[in-house]
Subunit: 207 residues, 2 copies
């Protein structure tokens, strides 16, 4: 039955729509990254997709919709990753944090266009939409801050250091990869692994 439902014309149409939307966002990310958000027009995105501008307006009302949808998509994926790491059984706070840092860094390195646009251009959103994105970012920050505080309480990390500031440093290390990492330079998995080691070392404090 599932097979029949999956291949129903309505379902197929929805899948095609979804695929097209993903293509629109991918092309937008690539252009925003290469040309900058300000200098990219809806016409550029349509050209990159081989679409008429009018057809692209079927999916969006403004260029800002492209940026907003892109950042929402990043959060959907990053939240999924966070939930997976949260659900892993039998880990100490530091172990959980190490896995989270490694995975999120990997995600950024394998999605450089989108990660770049996310971190570089979020301020280009109108205030209400920026708030939506910031609220979602906040829950990731809280996840990391909580793990750091737990590690400090367990005596596994230096509790003289402010957990909120450390959280910002941990995100810095993961985030700034978008500015220096190039796939032809270093292996992504190796960089992600080192990133997690650096972050955990930074939190636990040096001897």
């Amino acid at each position: 039955m599932a097979t029949i439902r999956n291949s129903s014309p309505t379902k197929q149409k929805a899948q095609r729509e979804r695929k097209r939307q993903d293509e629109v966002l991918e092309a937008s990310a690539k252009l925003f990254h290469e040309k900058g958000y300000s200098d990219t027009t809806v016409q550029d995105v349509a050209d990159a997709l081989g679409m008429l501008k009018g057809s692209l307006y079927y999916y969006i009302d403004t260029k800002e919709d492209l940026l907003f949808n892109l950042l929402v998509q990043v959060h959907d994926e990053v939240d999924e990753l966070l939930e997976e790491v949260k659900a892993m059984p039998g880990l100490t706070p530091l172990q959980r944090l190490e896995i989270y840092v490694r995975r999120l860094t990997s995600y950024n390195l394998y999605n450089l266009d989108r990660a770049t646009v996310y971190y570089h251009d979020v301020d280009r959103l109108s205030e209400d939409r920026r708030s939506v994105i910031m609220a979602r970012r906040k829950s990731e920050n809280q996840f990391v801050a909580r793990l750091i505080r737990q590690a400090q309480q367990d005596g596994d990390a230096d509790d003289s250091m402010d957990a909120i500031i450390l959280t910002n440093f941990v995100f810095s290390t993961m985030i700034w990869t978008y500015r220096w990492y190039r796939p032809q330079g270093f292996d992504a998995e190796m960089v992600a692994d080192l990133c997690s080691k650096f972050a955990i070392g930074g939190i636990t404090g040096f001897p």
Copy 2:
């Protein structure tokens, strides 16, 4: 004699010019930070200074000159700081690195407008000017990478970790402050101190 020379009309004129140029760069940094480089016009800068646009063109030919001069000014100041740390006697590589990280982070936190423009908009420069800035950035990178390698050779840091990647992480931690730090939130010196501890902890590796 020196006093007489210092107060000569030519010297005074040069000092006024210099002061005016600094004001132009300061106003540019503030506007580029607040409105974004793309959305700021030379007219905006002139307005902020209470100058006629024509008078501002006495100092520059294009808006890009403002951005370039600003980034050169940042490097002049940051290079000075680097030379001071280089010249300090009797320090281990890790101690020297710790001081450098603390001082550069302080510099960034006390010069948020300029640091933000530097890190956010360097790619808006034309290719030849971008190369000039990147070459200057490279020498800072090499300074840090060399200290990390020395620490690894001395057995003071985990030598299984790639020094170039670690260098990028150290700069990440210092640089990304421009995105999260706000003067009304945390004390700048405390943040700079924690930044140096986090970076050194990240390099030395966790137990």
